[in-house]
Structures are given as structure tokens and as C-alpha cells.
């Protein structure tokens, strides 16, 4: 082992001392900064990933819409399915309706899906928490969990559906007769907004409710594993008949994703200052060590050490603090991330804020995801900042002349 590294280790972890206070405090500072970065960036990454999954699981990776109605969805789907990388397509129609059950009204979004094709693109079946997805037909409806709870509807309940088309009938003084649908299933995606205000019916039911004829509003597209959505979207756009524009889930949610990324970057930037402050504390402690060890530095010079080697000794101390602090911070951060839901549950139990958490943050569980890039960014930032912290003390130590250092009191 090169002696500057050896001596740096010995000075940080002296022989016969189990608890070197300066070393412990310095490492703790870096560890806290890295740990906080891991936790915050993981949770922000988790939110991003949940949102991505939610969008892809409810819309597919690519959504094709036309300016008005898509009159011939079959032709559009045939064209899209010829594009390399496309696994499946499914048409949809969407809108807003009024529901009524036992005099309780609600105004949810309604999705009309092709029951025979939809689960090739959107894994609706996995979100069903009560009833049967396969029972969905033109006289039945699947409700989102919180909406069913709000209405008090259960499996087998018959709910009245009023579509905007009925308003047209009011103009000609016709009697409003709502469509009666039986609840055959209840789904829960884990996203508060979708779980509280969406109903799913067959495409035919939706076409009847909105008077669409055979037209649809768009087509959802599923891509193969590892296919780049942007490239596939461009290919689909080239293959589309004249009316229709494909947008990847990223394009469709560009502004939202930008805000999410901006928030993540800001959090990274702000929390990095914790490491910077810790690094100042390391630099300050090492500078004090240089003053305290002036005669030892002189001795090293007298015994044959070059100024560069003396500098390397102090620089190594910054690097070692950075490495050990980063490792400890990773352990701390991943431990907190692992037990995040228990910690949040404990906190919300104490403050009675479980419902508020779900309402404001949309997720019932705190998500976490740390990409390899984010992890490398955190590790390299911590190591670079800690190394920089050792440079100033190292420079001061290297500047000392052995003969003057040995004479110092």
C-alpha cells in the first residue's frame, strides 16, 4: 500500500482507538447527505415510474387520435400493426357521463373498450379487485373502487347512466330514459384520481351512449419490450392513414414529465448542498489537522517524503472520508427506502394523515425507484466533493518546509 494512503488510514483510524471522533463526525456528515439524496431521489424516481406505469397501463405506450372521430378504426389498426415493434392495438372511446345510484349522482369519466382486444394492450384484468372482467358486456359496467364506495354500489347493483346525447333529446321534449347498467366488476389501479372517477363499459355501449355509430376516439398501442416509444411513434405516424396522429406516452405527458424531472433535479441540487456543507466541515477539520500536525509533516519531509506525497496523504483522507461516508450513506439510504412504507405508516398514524396522503399524492404506497444513472450521479458527486474537500488542506501541508515545520511550536 502506498505510504500516503497507509498514513491517511492510520490518521483517520488510529491504532488503539475505536471511536475517532473527528473521523466519525466527518463520515456521518457525508453519509447523511448521501442517505438523504438516495431517499429523496428514489422516492421522486418512484413517483415518476408509477406515473409512467399508470399512463402505460391505462393508455398503452402510444396513443393514436384523429382530429375528430376516427371513422374507420379497423383500417387504422391494420396500418399500425404492420409497424415493426407494435405488439397489439385496441380502439377506445371516452367521455363524461352522469351516474345515479339510489339518488346519489356522480360525474365520472367513461371509457369504452373493446372487451375482446383491450387486455392485449392494457392489463385491466390485473386491476379487478371484485367481480369478473370477463363478465363485461353491453349491459354491464366496471366501476372504479372509490366511485363504487361513494355511490354505495356493489356487484350486481344497477346504476343509471345519463350521457350528453340525452341532453339533445331534452331539446325535442323527449322523455329522458337513462341507460341501466349492472355492476359486474370493481377495479383499483392505486391512483387516487383514476380510482375515484372512472367507469369502464364496452365500446359498443359507449358508441351508443355518445351516438358515435362505428366511430371511435382513438387507438391505444402496445409496443414490444425494449422498443423506443419515440422511434415507434415516428414509424406509426409514417404508416398512418391521413387522419390520425400518434403520440408516445412521453409526448402526451411532456409538460408533466418536465415538471417532474425539474422537481427531481431541484431536489438533487438542494440536497447536494448537505454534502457540500459536510465537505466544508471535512476541509475545516483537515486544515486543523494540518496545523496540529505541522511537526509531523516536517518529520515526513525530513524522512524523505516529497511535498506531493505529503499532499497525497491529506488528499487521501478526504477521499477515504468520501468513500466510507458514501458507503454508509448508501446503506442508510437503502435501509430507509426499504422500510419507507413502514416509516410513512408510522408517521401518518401519529399525525392521522393517511387519507390526506392518498388524496394529495395519489398513491396508496410510497413508491421508490433509483435508476443506475441517478445512483452513479449521487456516488460520483459525493466522492468528487469529498476529494475537493481534501485538496486545500493537502495544498497547505505540501507548502510547509520541513525545517520550518520541525521548528514550529
Amino acid at each position: 500500500m502506498p505510504w500516503p494512503l497507509y498514513l491517511a488510514l492510520k490518521q483517520l483510524f488510529p491504532t488503539g482507538r475505536r471511536f475517532p471522533f473527528f473521523t466519525f463526525i466527518s463520515i456521518l456528515g457525508v453519509a447523511l447527505g448521501v442517505g438523504l439524496l438516495i431517499v429523496c431521489i428514489s422516492v421522486m424516481g418512484g413517483f415518476g415510474r408509477e406515473i409512467r406505469n399508470m399512463i402505460v397501463n391505462t393508455q398503452g405506450e402510444v396513443q393514436v387520435r384523429s382530429e375528430g372521430l376516427m371513422q374507420d378504426p379497423r383500417a387504422v389498426m391494420d396500418a399500425i400493426e404492420k409497424v415493426p415493434g407494435v405488439l397489439a392495438t385496441t380502439p377506445f372511446a371516452e367521455g363524461v357521463v352522469m351516474l345515479q345510484y339510489q339518488n346519489k349522482p356522480a360525474f365520472p369519466a367513461i371509457q369504452g373498450v373493446d372487451a375482446n382486444r383491450v387486455d392485449r394492450v392494457i392489463p385491466l384484468r390485473q386491476f379487478i379487485v371484485a367481480g369478473e372482467y370477463d363478465a363485461l358486456d353491453d349491459d354491464r359496467v366496471i366501476l372504479s373502487a372509490q366511485l363504487a364506495m361513494t355511490l354505495g354500489a356493489r356487484l350486481g347493483s344497477r346504476i343509471s347512466v345519463y350521457s350528453p346525447l340525452l341532453l339533445e333529446k331534452l331539446k325535442t321534449d323527449e322523455i329522458l330514459i337513462p341507460r341501466e347498467l349492472e355492476v359486474c366488476g370493481i377495479f383499483e389501479i392505486g391512483h387516487q384520481q383514476l380510482d375515484s372517477s372512472v367507469v369502464i363499459v364496452t365500446l359498443r355501449t359507449m358508441q351508443e351512449l355518445y351516438g358515435l355509430g362505428r366511430a371511435v376516439h382513438g387507438v391505444n398501442v402496445k409496443l414490444g419490450e425494449g422498443i423506443d416509444p419515440d422511434r415507434a411513434t415516428a414509424d406509426i405516424n409514417r404508416a398512418l392513414p391521413v387522419d390520425g396522429v400518434a403520440k408516445s406516452w412521453m409526448d402526451a405527458n411532456q409538460e408533466f414529465l418536465f415538471v417532474l424531472q425539474l422537481e427531481k433535479n431541484m431536489i438533487f441540487f438542494l440536497l447536494l448542498f448537505i454534502i457540500v456543507v459536510a465537505a466544508f466541515s471535512v476541509a475545516s477539520s483537515l486544515l486543523i489537522a494540518v496545523v496540529r500536525k505541522t511537526r509531523e509533516i516536517g518529520l515526513l519531509g525530513a524522512l524523505g517524503a516529497s511535498p506531493g506525497q505529503v499532499a497525497a496523504c491529506f488528499c487521501c483522507q478526504g477521499v477515504i472520508i468520501g468513500i466510507v461516508g458514501t458507503a454508509a450513506g448508501l446503506g442508510l439510504g437503502f435501509a430507509v427506502v426499504h422500510f419507507r412504507n413502514d416509516l410513512v405508516a408510522g408517521f401518518t398514524r401519529l399525525t392521522g394523515s393517511q387519507a390526506a396522503l392518498e388524496r394529495f399524492y395519489q398513491f396508496s404506497q410510497l413508491p421508490a425507484y433509483l435508476s443506475r444513472t441517478d445512483l452513479l450521479l449521487i456516488i460520483s458527486s459525493a466522492l468528487i466533493v469529498s476529494t475537493l474537500a481534501g485538496l486545500l488542506p493537502a495544498w497547505r501541508a505540501a507548502k510547509l518546509k520541513p525545517v520550518e515545520a520541525l521548528r514550529s511550536e
Binding site: 500500500m1 505510504w3 497507509y6 498514513l7 492510520k10 490518521q11 488510529p14 491504532t15 488503539g16 511537526r295 509531523e296 516536517g298 518529520l299 515526513l300 519531509g301 525530513a302 524522512l303 524523505g304 517524503a305 516529497s306 506525497q309 520541513p402 525545517v403 520541525l406
Partner: protein
Amino acid sequence: MSNRPPILQARGLHKSYASGARRLQVLRGVELTVLSGESVSIRGESGSGKSTLLNLLSGLDAPDAGELQWEGEATLSAARRGRLIGLVFQSFYLVPELDALDNVLLAARLQGPIGAAERARACDLLGRVGLADRTGHIPGKLSGGERQRVAIARALMNKPPLILADEPTGNLDEGSGEAVIDLLLALCAESGCALVLVTHNAAHANRCARRLFLREGGFHPV
């Protein structure tokens, strides 16, 4: 003795320091030749320039004028100093975080990677200075005399041909001081290295083969 090659040659060394507005001339043309294996003592009053001279002889400081040669070469890099000169200081200067063995090995580490041979030599040296059972003790757990013995072992670690000792007994009681001088002279004689001993103590100085007295910037007969 005169057939031995010179290990250190100093010619016309001058050194002065700024003292307020004027310069204080400490050394005025010092001439000194130390032969291989020779022991030389330098005595002098406080402020006579003994430590200044030793700093010049060890290459830690540069003279204002004059010439120095170590084994016939006028240049002395830090690494060469580590190989050529063993230094013993009045204040020991042990690294407090290292135990006795590692303090001795430090001199070897600075020269390159160490192995079993270096460890064995360090243990042997500590045994010779009577600290075989204290190798794992940090300096804080050793007495002044024991610390100085560790420093002597460190000075001898790289088998240097020259030992420069600056008042090695200055911080020790009389008994410990005697023991340290005995040890230093014996080990230097045994290993064949030259010794330049700077001391206040006339009895210690008299034990060296050649005795010099530094006064008014130059050597005078004792």
C-alpha cells in the same frame, strides 16, 4: 581512519537569519568533513548555531554560501536524504497514531513498499534498543527514553551511512540520557555508520572520536 571515504563534506558554510532590520550571521565559513564510520560531536552554547548547522548538513535547509557534498554528490533529494541520513531529534517526533513498530517502519515505507524483511529488521532494531515487548505500543504509552529509543531505531531502519542526532538527550533525565547515548554509539559502531552528535553535554560529547566546539559561527578547538 583517514583511509575511509568522506561521507559528508562541508566547505565554507555561511548562514544568516533576519533579526528585525538587520541580519544575524549564525555560521561563518564552517568547514567539516565526516568520514565513513566516524563519530563526531559538536558542542556549543545555546544560539551558537548547532541546530542550524545540522539542518544544513541534513539538507533540510540551504546555506547562504558554501558547498555541501554527501557521498561526493552536491544534490540531496528528499528520497536520497531518507536513504542516506538517519535523523534523531531532541523532541523524538514520533507519529502518535502509529505504534512503535509502525513508527520504525515509517522510514522504510517512505522509500518504497515494505515486506517481511523490513518488518523483521524493524522488530530486530526494536529488540536491540530494548523495546521488543513494546512494539505494539503507541508513543503516548511510552516513556521519554523509550520514545527516543524508537526514534533511534527509526533512524537506523534504512541502514543509512550517516546519523545526525540533534541533542537526543535534551528532553531526557540523566539516566535515560546516558542509556540513549550508549545505545546510539553502540548501534552506530555496530552498523558502521558515521555519527554527528550535537549536544550540550560535555560527557556525551567526549565519548565521540572527534570533538568540535562551535562558537561565533565557526569551529574552535575544545
